[in-house]
Amino acid sequence: MCPKLRSTDSSAKSILKPGAQIVVDTLIEQGVETMFGYLGGVVLPLFDKLYDAPINFIIPRHEQGGCHMADGYARASGKVGVVVATSGPGACNLVTGLATAMMDSVPLVAITGQVRTDLIGNDAFQEADTTGITRPVTKYNCIVKDVKDLARTIREAFYIASTGRPGPVLVDIPVDIELEKCSSDGSKEMNLPGYKVQTKGHARQISMAAKAINESECPVLYVGGGVVISDASEELRKFALKANLPVTMTLLGLGCYDQSRAESLDMLGMHGSAYANYAVQECDLLIAVGARFDDRVTGNVKTFAPKAKIVHIDIDPASISKNVRADIPVVGDAKIILSELVKEVEHRDRKEWFKKIAEWKKKYPFRYDNNSTTIKPQYVIEEICRQTNGDAIVTTGVGQNQMWTAQFYKFKRARQFISSGGLGTMGYGLPAAIGAQIAMPGQVVVDIDGDHSFNMTMTELSTAVEHKLPIKVCILNNGFMGMVRQWQELFYNKRYSKSYLANPDYATVARAMGAAGITVEKKADVAKAVKAMLAEKMPCVVDFKVEREENVWPIVPAGKSIHEMNGLDILESLA
């Protein structure tokens, strides 16, 4: 009846392809070179199309591992990490990985298979309400019920994941949609009326911030993961130097400011440096950039930075004035705002302020008992830092291993330190190291892990062996859930309830999986083992039998103000 329509139809028919092919083509169009994921019934059409695709595909041993690998890949490279899982258990196993990425603003796209559209809601085999389960742990998710929406939805997923405050986006695809044929260039345009990202800061707000900085006698610059994400290290350096500001970093901000510089105050917060915490409590102006006033940073929020006016620069308006009211909010991208701000700030001497800071720095540096005959975990980290010239990409587990790494490895650049900050996911270190090594094949990647963290995902060692990745796993093995034990020691009368378990011989486990394994029991062997580990071409696990009841100092007990640190006397006694 309508010849025009009919001719469009026939031309479309000539490029008809199944949904699975559309997915693969769209991934390639989005620049995907590497993917992680696990097979299963309802993603078989997709894997069939991946068979011929020019995509490096890494199969983890567990979907959680795959999700952390994609996360480590994304954090090391700045690209979007992609992970695939099947329906039901596959999708459920992604949840921890998605939540980890969500808390730390990591751009991920997760593609999950789903049961046939006509079976949805019937409790079909391997059916789970994936979008329902993952909604609170993704920036956005959706299920595609029409093959015509597939290409557009995947493009939107990449766009949402990688812009604004990044985060994981999940696209759930029923198997019949993977199989259904459609003209691929159906709907290229994105349709996101509710998604607006403000990158450019408001000029008046920027001027107000500059004025406050120029008037401040004792300011502190407090920077977080947002600076890393926005690739703003250079802008940050220029700004801090021009305005002459001391700089403290959050856990996820580590590396975005060179820690060897005098104005670096290192990390702040619960296990941060005394000098950073004192500086924040004394400052008259706190300039937060890409940081979110997390409770591990602020301690008691009511007494946090009590004398300070707060400037808060962040791309996520909801982060501003969420925990601490900002006096001068600036919404936008850190890189853009810092490069505007630098034009308006003036250099001020602030001799008194820097003198005070230098005194704190001198009095309370991070210290440990260097003369100890046992292996101190901090000593291992310093040795790794020394032998890698402070240049390695370092991932961690969660707990003491993570805090000591933050304290004793001196980072030089952004994307060098990769750790689960917000969610605090034990078991993150090994898979993240695998992802980081795949993203950065030429670089040394070291996972500084705890024994209990490593236990959670050590199965991924065989993934590393399969791909001959020269990752280094340094287990600071104290036989405890170290941080839990420390809290039990300090706050539960040293009752070590269930905080230890029987570990395997990690070197033997490593060798059984095809990796190299080294056990270090003497302090004198540490340097040699690190050297051997760095020379190894295959994955290498080094089991350092460290001092069992070493503590992380200082510590701000939960609910206290950040200047109320425990352990300063211990740090002083070690001078």
Binding site: P136, I160, D316, S321
Partner: protein, 165 residues
């Protein structure tokens, strides 16, 4: 303080779950929530009544705006609004009480929409306080059931300047 928040959202599956889930996850209290289509079939409007101090409500507003399918968020707190609830209520109405009940309905400008030997179903709309008052007045007769929409609201379009012009 009570805030009426109006959110224009994409008319897609899962949006209500997303909004409700965010409220639950962030421990915000919803007094009422009403959803319906708008003149544009791609958009729905959610009217959410929240109780909280300014800081809490500011977070509610920002967290709502952050949800991708939420297109626009307004807080009507500082402007004159027309806010209405709709209620259907079934009241026990013995024949000897019926006249009394009907005059009460009349006072509240309610409408009888169903009637039987022992009951009367009434439709009442108006500001929340009026609906509450009507319920209270009906209690002595016996209330069988109540269904309410929750508040929907719009800012007043009429402005004094318009009048002078």
């Amino acid at each position: 303080m009570k805030h009426i928040i109006s959110a224009l959202v994409e008319n897609k599956p899962g949006v209500l779950a997303h909004v409700a889930g965010m409220f639950a996850a962030r421990a915000f209290n919803i007094d009422s929530l009403a959803v319906g289509r708008t003149e544009d079939p791609d958009l729905s409007r959610m009217t959410i009544v929240v109780v909280g101090d300014d800081r809490v409500v500011e977070q509610v507003r920002k967290q709502l705006a952050k949800i991708i399918p939420v297109v626009k968020v307004q807080d009507f707190v500082d402007q004159p609004v027309v806010a209405r609830d709709l209620m259907l209520i079934v009241i026990s109405a013995a024949p000897e009480k019926r006249a009394e009940i009907l005059s009460l309905i009349d006072v509240f400008k309610g409408k009888v929409v169903d009637i039987g030997q022992k009951f009367v179903m009434v439709e009442v709309s108006g500001p929340e306080a009026k609906i509450d008052a009507f319920i209270n007045m009906c209690r002595p007769y016996g209330i069988k059931s109540v269904a309410r929409t929750g508040t929907i609201a719009m800012p007043r379009q009429f402005k004094a300047e318009d009048n002078e012009a």
